[in-house]
Symmetry: C2
Subunit: 206 residues, 2 copies
Amino acid sequence: MKTEISLSTIRRLPIYLHYLKSLDVSQPNISATQIAGALNLGEVQVRKDLASISCGGKPKVGYEVHKLINELESYLGANDENSAVIVGVGRLGQALLEYDGFAQFGLEIVAGFDVREELFGKNIGGKPIFDEKQISGYVKDNGIAMAIITVPASFAQSTADKLVSVGIKAIWNFSPTHIVVPDTVVVKNENLAASLAVLSKQLKEK
Amino acid sequence: MKTEISLSTIRRLPIYLHYLKSLDVSQPNISATQIAGALNLGEVQVRKDLASISCGGKPKVGYEVHKLINELESYLGANDENSAVIVGVGRLGQALLEYDGFAQFGLEIVAGFDVREELFGKNIGGKPIFDEKQISGYVKDNGIAMAIITVPASFAQSTADKLVSVGIKAIWNFSPTHIVVPDTVVVKNENLAASLAVLSKQLKEK
DNA sequence: CGCCTATCGATATTTTTTTATCGATTCTAA
DNA sequence: TTAGAATCGATAAAAAAATATCGATAGGCG
């Protein structure tokens, strides 16, 4: 199927992938009903989501688990632009550099950048840390398209501007501020405090 | 106005709040048009969102900035259940313990829990770290309703089960696994790797 | 083999969210 | 003091997402 896949669907695909991988290998097939039950989703929704990336299951037996995993991985991971850099190697930046779940999606954080001299040349999570001044060269030389911003809020927008100017096309911003970028660039503002506030709000509404 | 506020709207409220706070104090009023322009949203959407929590602005002049901030803060922060604990004091847990943006929403992370003895009694970000065995008592004694899970994936579900059993009502899960909880509990699964994968996907679709 | 059940995929319906339109209100200024 | 522009709030329309319905098909079983 080749219609446009909605963002809501794309967001659920990694969840399916993860769940399928957690299954016992001895289970060759799985039904949408079962997936829906395990993940607390509607079974029709699961079928629709899977229909958008899979070539289909069989009535009564469901989908082949390994085939589905392949299809999900190839959809999510088939991506040339899969390297990212981190700007701002504080606690959070370090946590992300050491986080080992990215590879599952064919993604890799390849380097960190900071302004603090004492970090230059260090290795964190096996990734080198460089002087922030070198970002431009590094990004251009290596054709990097994605960047993660974990600098203090007051530097977030200027960092984003700089990244955009050197050719970054996707930004994941963890600074507690909302950055604005040109339409040609994809940005996800991840405000942790705001997320917790929303959760707290949901809790209260119950 | 007292109609149910949609989750999409609630998610945008912290963004408005943050933006308003970033404004020059000398600006007493602001229009939906201006907010929409700065944040890249539709101006009607901004008006509708604000209408749900504010008692209104005036034509031609817009909204009063300080009043709007108050209204947003009181909506987002007026919450008794505003203390959270963190389970799993690794890099990410530490980063969150030191993160200072939560107070803005009237939220506080009050303690961390881990299984590693060498952490017991330590202070991180001014917050005490305890033995995970003490969670139950702590949560009950202090009436904590929210918990953040930053343990390795393989312990995430069991940690969640335990938290639910001691009375936690909202869980923010950072382990790269999808946890399932009873309907009475609010959960947000925050899979960092999956988020980056989605961003990467969006980038590719362009 | 023929019936029953689980499940798929497609289409239709409902609900939710976003966007557009328009009359009413308030300020500015001639 | 009246014309004009900016902006609000409400209602309507459109778009997107979630959910329900239903015929078709594959396997199990008498």
